[in-house]
């Protein structure tokens, strides 16, 4: 099908974009890479009065190191992230996750800000944001505010961004050197959204684990941090028994819904299986 009618704005500055969005009182949609919004328009599942297209706001595309974080302009393309030396060095988990995002011609258009603001619970970037305890910056009429990952995601496709706010920046803490990491996911076809995915990070000292991070995709309405599973590793180390215990705990911590792709029980099962796989691979990568 074809999109319904809408008014179209293509501002070249962020201030113009915020002003344009504010004029519609929630009836406008922000168009970033368009790889999710355009299909919704084509199906007429979304019928916004207006689109505010950020693709000509050049100031929103950058990768910058600052204060121990890597900061991404919201319009930074996934393909840019895939090849970024800064990302390879400081955020190898994000680099790995990017290879799972859609397909090559999706990633040339898709953006980090769009993926996170769209908040598809099966998407990889929200899981990485949760695992790394990142934050985003939102710009509205009243100025900027910083939102932590834990506060951002509300439910399916819903964040706590106000209707007149634009997500402008994504901030991820640089991962420690020598850290172990892995993103494991299961989908019926490569490039599909995950049925379930697990992002893992471990900092090891011998068999001890000084920090573990686990976050889910596709195992509930929002990415879930598996804190109680992380604690098992931080207490008991990185041996096989601890990994098994953490994987079992993961199945208890998620509360997935059933849908056409998978039952709730199957998703719960996958959360355990993928936690074990992700941890095993992450520990293999970790130095120290």
């Amino acid at each position: 099908m074809k999109p319904p009618k809408f008014e179209y704005h293509a501002p070249t500055t962020l201030d113009e974009a915020v002003a344009a969005l504010g004029r519609y009182g929630g009836d406008a949609k922000v168009l970033a890479g368009g790889q999710s919004l355009m299909p919704l328009l084509n199906f007429r599942l979304a019928r916004p009065a207006a689109l505010v297209d950020l693709n000509r706001v050049a100031s929103l595309a950058y990768i910058r190191e600052q204060d121990g974080q890597v900061r991404f302009g919201a319009m930074t393309r996934q393909r840019t992230i895939e090849f970024s030396p800064v990302v390879a060095q400081h955020l190898p988990l994000l680099k790995e996750a990017t290879r799972w995002v859609g397909h090559l011609p999706i990633r040339t258009r898709g953006t980090i800000g769009g993926s996170i603001a769209h908040a598809d619970p099966s998407a990889e970037y929200p899981a990485v944001l949760a695992a790394l305890e990142g934050e985003v910056v939102a710009r509205g009429a009243k100025g900027d505010r910083v939102i932590r990952a834990a506060d951002l995601f509300q439910t399916y496709l819903t964040t706590n961004l106000a209707p007149d706010e634009i997500l402008t920046e994504v901030r991820l803490p640089a991962m420690p050197a020598g850290v172990g990491y892995a993103l494991e996911e299961f989908a019926r076809r490569h490039g599909d959204f995950a049925i379930v995915g697990i992002a893992a990070m471990v900092v090891r000292e011998g068999q001890r684990c000084t920090m573990a991070r686990l976050a889910t995709a596709g195992a509930g309405p929002v990415p879930v941090r598996l804190r109680a599973a992380e604690e098992i590793l931080e207490r008991d180390g990185l041996g096989e028994a601890a990994i098994d215990a953490a994987a079992r705990k993961a199945t208890e911590l998620v509360d997935p819904d059933a849908d056409i792709h998978a039952s709730a029980d199957y998703r719960r099962h996958l959360a355990g299986v993928l936690t074990k796989r992700a941890l095993t691979r992450a520990i293999g990568v970790a130095r120290g």
């Binding site: 999109p3 809408f6 084509n42 090559l104 011609p105 999706i106």
Partner: protein, 157 residues
């Protein structure tokens, strides 16, 4: 209505359309370049894949107005001096197509894959072309074609 000025395969074009007009429809209906195919219209099948400022992108989930000022590449631009592009030649040689519906998208996607990864493994080729659905070939012929074309493109022919 909006005015869209852009280059396709190096040739300047201008057209007027509604902001909601999809780029693929603009290319086919307004510019008359029907080599780019419309399949699923929601960014899954990849038949509509074109080069947008040098990178492969799906033209059914972009608006024509977004291409104002852009340089596009389509399958029509691959032949040079009456000769098939080496990748097209490889598709013909290795039975990389049957009905041909997905082929424009396959070619453009494979070109961007080989541009960024000049000597891909078979696994990487499969991952790259997984962006485009083919219902005829079973993909093996396409993988063979891309593999065969890689060294030819890398040597700069």
């Amino acid at each position: 209505m909006v005015t869209v000025r852009l280059k396709v395969n190096g040739v300047a074009h201008e057209g007027r359309c509604e902001p909601r007009k999809l780029l693929v429809d603009f290319i086919r209906e307004d510019l008359g370049l029907t080599g780019t195919h419309v399949g699923c219209e929601h960014g899954i099948c990849g038949a509509c894949t074109i080069m947008f400022n040098g990178e492969a992108a799906r033209s059914c989930i972009m608006l024509a107005v977004q291409a104002d000022g852009a340089e596009l590449g389509t399958v029509e631009g691959l032949m040079r001096d009456g000769k098939l592009h080496p990748l097209q030649e490889a598709f013909r040689e290795h039975h990389g197509l049957q009905c041909g519906f997905c082929t424009p998208g396959m070619l453009i996607t494979a070109l961007d894959l080989l541009r960024t990864n000049p000597s891909p493994s078979d696994r990487e080729i499969r991952e790259g072309i997984s962006a485009v659905l083919c219902r005829c070939t079973g993909y093996q012929g396409i993988v063979n074609a891309v593999r065969a074309a890689a060294p030819i493109l890398a040597s700069g022919r």
